[in-house]
């Protein structure tokens, strides 16, 4: 009976048998034939010799490479692993709360910057005006003593953004309006005034003191009632 298991072996099948890639029943059949057929056995043996020769040859090529070359390759691998680890750490690092808030408000950044810019310009204008010592009492007195509102600047700043008028008003807590003195020349502003002077005797003449907290003005009364002033 000539079943598939006992049929002749084609060359490809012999190679597959050699590679242990045949089903068990077919492999058993070929194994029996190998024992009976010397030519088939010799060809099978050749495959083993070829495999051994190739392996030995390729391994001999690898042995010929100096160890230092493999160490160099390892150094490169090591560097690449370090680089990977660094990149991974950066990728894993979660953003801080502030970074996330900042990111969430990204669409509002430009309008906010524009508003802040406008506020800064307004503040700068107000500051420039209030730094003139001749205008300070007038502004403060108007706020405290009269119902008349000061002329508001065009882009009205918020309360928190207008410290200068508030500070000037506080400088005169009693709400006493300093009399307007259009003749007074601008004076340097002292940094602080710790001394409290209530009277003055200047060359046998009397005087009065005007203290606005940061500026103290001495008025010396002359016979002709002309005024002179000193700043302490």
């Amino acid at each position: 009976m000539n079943t598939e298991a006992t049929a002749g072996v084609n060359p490809e099948e012999l190679h597959a048998f050699f590679d242990d890639e045949l089903p068990a029943d077919r492999a058993d059949a070929i194994e029996r034939m190998l024992a009976e057929d010397s030519d088939l056995g010799a060809e099978h043996e050749q495959l083993g010799l070829m495999r051994g020769t190739l392996r030995a040859s390729l391994e001999a090529e690898a042995e010929a490479v100096p160890q230092a070359r493999f160490e160099q390759v390892w150094d490169e691998i090591d560097r690449a692993i370090e680089r990977d680890a660094r990149l991974q750490a950066e990728a894993d690092r979660s953003p801080s709360v502030w970074a996330r808030v900042w990111a969430a408000f990204k669409p509002l950044r430009l309008p906010a910057l524009a508003a802040a810019g406008a506020a800064a310009v307004t503040l700068a204008v107000i500051s420039t005006d209030s730094e003139d010592p001749n205008k300070t009492p007038a502004v403060a007195s108007v706020d405290e003593t009269s119902d008349a509102k000061p002329a508001a600047p065009a882009p009205a700043p918020s309360e928190a953004e207008t410290p200068e008028p508030t500070r000037l008003a506080d400088a005169n807590p009693g709400g006493q309006a300093t009399p307007p003195e259009p003749e007074i020349a601008p004076m340097p502003v002292p940094e602080s005034s710790e001394a409290e002077i209530h009277e003055i005797d200047f060359g046998g003449k009397n005087g009065r003191i005007s203290n606005t907290g940061t500026v103290t003005v001495l008025y010396v009364e002359d016979v002709e009632a002309t005024s002179s002033e000193r700043s302490l």
Binding site: E43, R55, E61, F70
Partner: protein, 216 residues
């Protein structure tokens, strides 16, 4: 920390836990084997070293995903085979463009070539110590097409199964079976031709038949 003498599985686990020395031990264990495979494919020392480097970087990168369903060296060799095949494709060598599995040996007849010179080599590991024999093997390997050399290296050196080779080469198991058969036949033929003309001074199992044929 895993000892460098530990088995692959222990070293892999240690390396997965971040032990760089364990990973280095794996590298040192397989550096020459991987090089041999890569050089078998590519026939160029620098290319083979590049593949070695690339393979271990890749292994380290994917080590956390390695679950140990296959052995480490099987996994490693599969990566190396894929890298070599990619390298051959990238290098754009034209040797295989119009590839025919039946190339060379089928032009004559399908019978097995005269293999007596190969049989005369005797113990292969002793034979390749002879420079001429080693050179004949290397030259024959170099003359194979890229695909034939790839299947031979994957099977004879790496021991990959037909299914693994089919996956690596993106073809069927039947194609691999046929390709491997023709590749071996070509290799046998090339090697026999070279060994027949080997000078009689060859050591390591040079048979009388070889000497006589060379003299005739």
């Amino acid at each position: 920390m895993a000892s460098p003498d530990a088995d692959d599985q222990q070293l892999v686990k240690a390396a997965q836990a971040g032990d760089r020395r364990a990973f280095q031990a794996l590298y040192q264990r397989y550096e020459r084997k991987v090089y041999a495979v890569a050089h078998g494919f590519l026939r160029n020392q620098e290319d083979a070293l590049d593949v070695l480097q690339e393979a271990f970087i890749k292994v380290h990168r994917y080590l956390p995903n390695f679950e140990g369903q296959s052995s480490f060296y099987t996994w490693l060799y599969r990566i190396v085979a894929n890298l070599c095949i990619d390298h051959l494709r990238r290098s754009g060598r034209k040797k295989d463009v119009e590839f025919d599995d039946r190339l060379r040996h089928d032009a004559e007849q399908d019978a097995a070539p005269d293999l007596s010179p190969i049989s005369a080599l005797g113990d292969p590991s002793a034979a390749v110590k002879n420079k001429e024999i080693l050179s004949a093997v290397q030259e024959s390997l170099g003359r194979l097409s890229d695909k034939h050399r790839a299947v031979i290296v994957m099977r004879e050196l790496q021991g990959l199964s037909y299914a693994e080779m089919a996956k690596a080469m993106n073809c069927s198991k039947g194609t691999i079976m046929s390709r491997l058969f023709h590749a071996r036949r070509n290799m046998q033929k090339l090697l026999s031709e070279r060994l027949e003309y080997m000078p009689p001074s060859a050591e390591g199992g040079s048979a009388d038949s070889m000497t006589q044929e060379a003299a005739s």
